[in-house]
């Protein structure tokens, strides 16, 4: 019935796909996970996808993304291969334990699950469901909110694989773990990746998550990650997006934090096609800290939407949001940051700041700070700016002999620097710093200078043009 499929909604199309491929999707997984999927697909049926009438989605239209003849892989299509042959990370001094996902599936170059000598388990989520069903069942789905308007329910219904990390109590994982997420497909591809990170009490982890596409083909990634930080656990998290213009990413990250836990999140979007990043942090217990940093440098018709929600559910917690963006051409950016302070969350400290620089009249930034406070003894602040560079600083630099173009570059570089300086891994910070500088000078080619060095034959040049300011 080809006529019928043309007229059905994106939601119905996905629901049908789920029903038709049900056996392949659930395969041999634990019953509890299948039950979770059933619940999730019912949520999709009942609520549909968020549209532009939905608060937080007013400026980001999902629907067109679903209208492509996507391929879906319900089994792992990736064959064993040497990842180094198609891909090398060019942050030279970055010594990491790296794991790769190809088209959403764990790449079986080593064992699907690795246990480090300190007891840390790293590997495929699909495999973890098999080997550690109780552990996965206990956590999976308990942070993600299937009822909020997002694609979380869709991900829960469809996810097949992703990364599983378990850090035992008191363990400090020395080397950063790097997740490299590669899309390489000759056809349009839709993937639903799922990550689960469990950090037991007092553990420490650095996680670098790199999103990359090796082709300029259309792709839609709807990924979801759930991270659990038990008492005094600490996570330094980096998400670096450097994707082709035809790629779309919807990412839902959920963090649940217990007493005295620490989260430092850095979202660095150097190139992203269509990007909707949602970060949800629940500070469940006292003295938990969450710092969310973000930097986006976008041009052409790229669209980046950062939606943050920090829920202060317990007293004496601290949260900070700093998101900055430079927009060129017709690029658009949305920032919606919500801070919720519940009735019992006295002595909350919550800060939020979003700053945008627009290089053209066509570039657009929408900033929506939201505070909802039910406690009376709190310190909260928020600020949002959309504008140009400080004319006083421009004049000062020019009176010292810097031409307008150089002065602008220097100021934009400094603008981005506030976020870059917060990167705690030295080699990564230095590399990102160089990338940002090159990006702002219009000298950065995505394929030979990016964080992720690939072998694409069609180099794309970033061209934020400072002369337009």
């Amino acid at each position: 019935m080809p006529e019928l499929t043309q007229n059905i909604t994106s939601e119905q199309m996905m629901i049908n796909l789920f029903r038709e491929n049900f056996d392949a999707i659930v395969a041999s997984e634990p019953k509890a996970i299948t039950a979770l999927r059933e619940k999730a697909i019912k949520e999709v049926e009942a609520r549909g996808f968020p549209d532009t009438d939905t608060e937080n989605w007013r400026f980001t239209n999902l629907d067109p993304l679903f209208h492509a003849p996507y391929r879906f892989d319900f089994t792992n299509q990736s064959r064993p291969f040497d990842i180094d042959k198609i891909f090398t990370c060019d942050v030279y001094d970055l010594d990491t334990f790296s794991i790769t996902l190809l088209n959403g599936w764990y790449v079986y170059q080593n064992a699907p699950l690795t246990t480090l000598s300190n007891g840390t388990i790293i590997g495929s989520l699909a495999k973890a469901m098999e080997v550690y069903p109780e552990l996965v069942e206990k956590y999976l789905g308990s942070a993600a909110d299937l009822q909020q308007p997002s694609l979380s329910a869709l991900n829960t219904a469809f996810f097949q694989d992703g990364i599983f990390i378990y850090v035992p109590e008191g363990i400090e994982v020395e080397k950063p773990i790097q997740i490299i997420n590669i899309i390489d497909s000759s056809e349009p591809l839709m993937i639903h990746t799922r990550h689960l990170v469990i950090q037991e009490a007092g553990s420490k982890l650095t996680l670098v998550h790199c999103d990359h596409s090796l082709t300029h083909n259309i792709s839609l990634t709807n990924s979801l990650s759930e991270t659990f930080l038990e008492k005094e656990a600490s996570l330094d998290f980096y998400k670096i997006q450097n994707k082709g213009r035809n790629s779309a990413v919807v990412h839902n990250a959920y963090f649940k934090q217990k007493q005295n836990s620490n989260l430092n999140s850095h979202a660095l979007i150097l190139n992203g096609g269509f990007t909707k990043n949602m970060i949800n942090v629940e500070l469940e217990e006292t003295e938990a800290h969450a710092v969310l940093n973000g930097l986006y440098l976008v041009d052409n018709n790229q669209h980046v939407d950062n939606q943050l929600f920090v829920d202060h559910a317990a007293p004496n917690c601290l949260s900070e949001q700093l998101y900055k963006g430079v927009l060129d051409d017709e690029a658009t950016a949305v920032f919606s940051g919500k801070i919720m302070v519940r009735k019992d969350a006295q002595k909350t400290l919550a800060y939020q700041n979003n700053k945008n620089i627009l290089l053209t009249d066509e570039a657009k930034a929408n900033s929506q700070p939201q505070l909802e406070i039910y406690a009376d003894d709190v310190k909260c602040s928020h600020g949002a700016t959309v504008g140009q560079l400080d004319p006083e600083a421009m004049f000062y630099l020019r009176t010292r002999g810097l031409c307008e173009r150089t002065a602008r570059q220097l100021l934009m570089y400094a603008f981005a620097g506030e976020v870059v300086q917060r990167i705690a891994i030295d080699p990564l910070r230095e590399r990102i710093d160089q990338l940002v500088e090159k990006r702002l000078k219009g000298e950065l080619s995505i394929c030979d200078q990016c964080v992720l060095h690939c072998n694409s034959k069609e180099p794309t040049v970033f061209n934020i043009d400072v002369s337009k300011l």
């Binding site: 000062y396 630099l397 020019r398 009176t399 220097l410």
Partner: protein, 254 residues
Amino acid sequence: MLSIKDLSVSIYGKPILKDFNLEVNAGEVHAIMGPNGTGKSTLASVIAGRDMFDVDKGQITYMGKDLLEMEPETRAREGIFLGFQYPVEIPGVSMANFLRTAINERRKYHDLEPLSGAEFLKMMEERKKLVDIHSKLTNRSVNEGFSGGEKKKNEIFQMAMLEPKLSILDETDSGLDIDALKVVANGVNKLRKPENATIVITHYQRLLDYIIPDFVHVLFDGRIVKSGGKELAIELEEKGYEWIRKEAGIEEPM
């Protein structure tokens, strides 16, 4: 070196400088004094090239060239330096990166090779001593978190690094205690050369005890109403500005 003829400048239609005239030759130090709001800082800004002012009439010639036709950076590269009354804080731009870029852009303009990193650092260490700067500037952002005194010292330090022909120091003494004032004045004096010129803009005579001017001009209502030697500054300190207002026949402002 600098010749300002019949210069009239306004902002948003409000006249500030009116038929202003000034001649500055190499080797000279000129002090421009006057009460607040008489156009002293406007004069400095117009010479440096700030575009918020409208030049309604007159001309400025610098080293035989039409200054008003030049972009601010061209004026700087041709040897004009403005010491700001309120130096701008630029977070995230390091002093070293900023100054090296400034020096090398100037050198490029004069067809000179860029300074190497080592040469630049050596120069920076030397010139820091001129104004008693002990802190490491390499990692500090331009003026960020500097005290009032440090900011003014930093202006003179930049002047020492950029080696201008004509320096305009706009209220460099404001907000300085006597020790910092001596340091700043001492720096300026050490940088004095027969081929250079300096315009010192100040409200008080105090700075002129340390930077001895060849000429003192009193600016009132957008014009120079009285000029003299360094003794004029002393007279102003004793008698205030009122007698000049009366002598020049200018009405008291509302």
